[in-house]
């Protein structure tokens, strides 16, 4: 097939982007944090910046499973929503301090992810997407049918966090800039965590499973258990995103659990590029900016976003950042 001579020449000419890539990879966490610090001053509104922060975190967590393990879940809204609901219920109905409520939301989301993962990783191939979708819809209907806890179809309200105490300092959480930078700490934590996971031996194991499940099994990997761990970690990060969203909005819409919300996470990840660390965050940014811009023109902005997504699947499956890395940097 490919002669050795042919195989050498492109790698030689591609030395420069390779260096760019390895630099970007090496400093991906500091670079992300720098970008996040600047973000609110580059976007038209602070609220949009907070949304990018939240969904960027969710998409990066999701991509641990989709981009790196190769499992297309359509159920991650369940973890985002559960994280948000638990935080909201803990604050609003039990008066738990906000940081404990965040912790509880994350733990609750992680437990749910473990259970859903244990069920869905039993299945193979295309079943996985269908099963994750259906199990997440189960969570949606449970939330719908328990209005005394969740507010049912009206969503959950009544847990506004006005100010937060941090090492003796009192921060006004209603100020959008303060809110952004407090939540940014969580986003940075999530990015650092995901980066560490990807650099670890486990990160290598999930890539091996994505590349060739059968070979990974033959090498001695317990494929099911590795997938389950990846699923749980990914769901945990998404739950963290959910708790951030609850703190931001002081409201949890029921639709945050719907599979269309899962689909939105998938769309963001793919738009940015599932094969790269930054891709999902860039995808979240682009998706939310598009929503912001198009919804000014028309209430039917989803038809534009949907069409753009279809075109991406057809022509740019590597997404914006993935295509930039492979084509433009050549």
């Amino acid at each position: 097939m490919t002669s050795p001579a042919l195989a050498v020449s492109p790698s030689a000419s591609a030395r420069k982007p390779a260096r760019f890539r390895s630099l970007v990879t090496k400093y991906r966490v500091p670079l992300s944090i720098l970008a996040l610090c600047l973000l609110p001053w580059l976007l038209p509104s602070k609220a949009l910046a907070v949304n990018v922060l939240i969904y960027g975190t969710v998409a990066v967590g999701y991509n641990l499973l989709f981009g790196y393990t190769g499992l297309l879940s359509f159920g991650h809204a369940a973890f985002v929503g559960t994280g948000a609901y638990i935080t909201g219920i803990a604050i609003g109905q039990f008066g738990v301090p906000w940081y404990l409520a965040v912790l509880m939301g994350v733990i609750g989301g992680a437990l749910l992810a473990f259970v859903m993962g244990a069920l869905s990783t039993r299945t193979r191939g295309i079943y996985f997407s269908m099963v994750t979708l259906a199990l997440a819809q189960l969570v949606y209907y449970v939330a719908l049918q328990t209005p005394s806890w969740t507010g049912g179809e009206n969503g959950l309200r009544g847990f506004t966090v006005n100010k937060i105490n941090l090492f003796g300092f009192e921060i006004n959480f209603l100020d959008p800039v303060n809110k952004y930078y407090v939540l940014m700490v969580f986003a940075a934590l999530a990015l650092w965590l995901v980066s560490r996971i990807l650099n670890s031996p486990f990160g290598a194991a999930i890539e091996a499973i994505r590349e060739n499940e059968r070979r990974a099994r033959t090498c001695g990997y317990n494929v099911e258990r590795t997938k389950l761990l990846s699923f749980t970690l990914s769901g945990t990060i998404c739950a963290l995103g959910g708790t951030m969203s609850a703190l931001h909005l002081a409201f949890v819409p029921l639709d945050s659990l719907h599979y269309l919300s899962s689909g939105m996470i998938v769309m963001m990840t793919l738009l940015g590029g599932a094969s790269s660390f930054f891709g999902p965050f860039i995808g979240a940014l682009v998706f939310l900016v598009m929503e912001d811009v198009f919804s000014l023109w028309t209430s039917h902005w989803q038809i534009i976003v949907g069409s753009i997504f279809v075109l991406f699947v057809l022509f740019l499956p590597k997404g914006i950042w993935g295509t930039f890395l492979t084509k433009v940097m050549r």
Binding site: L72, I126, V131, A134, L135, Q137, L138, Y259, G306, V313
Partner: protein, 288 residues
């Protein structure tokens, strides 16, 4: 609680199940032949319901809507296969799934633009209104009609797959597409027809369910989840599995609704979870 009520509820479960059967069959046929899970299946079910309503209001007859809409949307489905899905063969199995998901967004929003965001009532045709006394109780005529139509379609489908040359090609092609190419069968034409057939079945389900549910742009979302539950329980690609699981799910939903209405939808997903624990490949699915 008297027997009559339970029997009525049981029957209405069968009618609900019949719609699930026809929708899940469409999904399963497409998957069996093309290896594609159609995430736009629910949206196409919804588009089918709207198309039926539109044709019925143009012609003034429900029957034209029932007949024409599935054909119309089936042809539309072929166009989808030809233009959008065909370029994705040979790529990751996730790609057609992602594409059809994006497409469902476009379809739902498209219907909102044309027909508005609010639900539209779909009147039961006058010849099928009312109830009939079957000795054990009164049953709505329309629901009996739905069960009859689905039964007829399933029989026709079975005859078509078992007794015709086209059916032979479909069954053989699902097992070994490359062999079909070697034998000189233009498999891409079969894919086109099968996708159209599957989509046609979804939209027939949409038209039939119109008078039973209200027609709105979001109706496809629940239908998609239901169809997934049915195919996961029955076994993806198994037509017998779709039929039995569809009826089972319909009856279980109805019977739960009788005792604990708020649990009706939840119990369907719980049933799926149990099946996954015991038989991850579905009741009639084969191990990969």
């Amino acid at each position: 609680m008297d027997t009559e009520l339970i029997l009525m509820q049981l029957f209405s479960g069968v009618a609900l199940g019949a719609i699930l059967v026809i929708t899940a069959l469409g999904l399963s046929i497409i998957f069996g032949m093309l290896g594609v899970v159609n995430f736009a299946h629910g949206a196409l079910f919804m588009v089918g319901a709207y198309a039926g309503l539109w044709v019925a209001s143009l012609t003034g007859s429900f029957w034209w809507g029932l007949l024409v809409a599935p054909i119309m949307i089936g042809v539309f489905g072929m166009a989808i296969e030809y233009v959008l899905i065909r370029p994705l063969y040979g790529r990751s199995i996730d790609d057609p799934l992602l594409l059809t998901f994006g497409l469902s967004y476009v379809l739902v929003e498209g219907v909102r633009i044309v027909f508005g965001s609010d639900g539209i009532p779909f009147p039961t045709p006058s010849s099928l209104t009312g109830v009939v006394d079957l000795g054990v109780g009164f049953f709505p005529i329309y629901r009996i009609f739905v069960v009859g139509v689905v039964f007829l379609v399933v029989v026709l489908l079975w005859l078509g797959l078992e007794k015709t040359k086209f059916g032979l090609i479909v069954r053989a092609g699902a097992r070994d597409p490359t062999m079909m190419k070697v034998l000189g069968v233009d498999i891409s034409k079969v894919w086109l027809l099968v996708f159209g057939l599957g989509v046609g079945l979804a939209s027939l389900g949409g038209v039939l369910s119109g008078p039973m549910r209200s027609v709105n742009p979001e109706m496809g979302a629940l239908v998609l989840a239901e169809a997934f539950v049915v195919t996961v329980i029955g076994g993806l690609g198994s037509l017998v599995g779709s039929i039995i699981a569809g009826l089972l799910v319909g009856v279980v939903i109805s019977m739960t609704a009788l005792f604990a209405p708020e649990m009706a939808t939840i119990v369907m997903f719980a049933l799926m979870a149990i099946v996954l624990l015991i038989r991850p490949q579905g009741l009639f699915g084969k191990l990969a």
